[in-house]
Symmetry: C2
Subunit: 116 residues, 2 copies
């Protein structure tokens, strides 16, 4: 699997292409966690949902308020909210008959920090 250019002496390639890129020091577990977060954002419906929940501020947003603007069926919206919840981007709270969703700003900020 290793590239064959490394054997048979040193510095074989006068025009070596490979620079010592930062191949080391990459946390695989952290990458999987980040990928999970970005995956939650990799859908227009979920972006819309997160946008609305964020716009609702600390008060949170009721699911009954999200279904119609999302333009998807209620089970589909529930499915997307579950993905956002599992990614840790939002939290859910049951208030009586209704379910309210709140954004977790520190989680969103963590993703943003990963891009800079």
């Amino acid at each position: 699997m290793a590239s064959s250019k490394v054997d048979a002496g040193a510095e074989v390639q006068p025009t070596a292409c490979c620079a010592p890129v930062g191949s080391s020091g990459f946390d695989e577990t952290a990458a999987a966690e980040l990928a999970k977060g970005f995956h939650a954002l990799a859908d227009p419906v979920r972006l819309h949902l997160l946008s609305m929940i964020t716009a609702a501020g600390p008060a949170g947003a009721c699911v009954c308020d999200l279904v119609e603007p999302a333009g998807r069926s209620q089970p589909t919206v529930s499915h997307h909210l579950k993905i956002l919840r599992q990614a840790g981007l939002v939290t859910s709270e049951k208030r009586g008959t209704w379910a309210w969703y709140h954004v977790r700003p520190e989680r969103v900020a963590a993703l943003r920090a990963a891009l800079g």
Copy 2:
């Protein structure tokens, strides 16, 4: 925003749970574009690749330098690089036999801006 706060606990209207959350003014096309960008980041292998390309700086990173650290076969790495390219996060340049990839900071910044 959140001009209409639901006074939780005081008086809840029986037939109106819904506050006028920011349901309007959501650009569907922009959301699809953002989702495409986030989708490109929604994989640990691609995060690793982008990390290495970014670490290489303006000089760029050679594909031959990315395959082994990625821990995937060469076709798979090429496939992921294509997704990053199609998402506009990186550019490719052919220099002789080798292909060099460069990051597009303004595109990454655009995604970061969408999170804040």
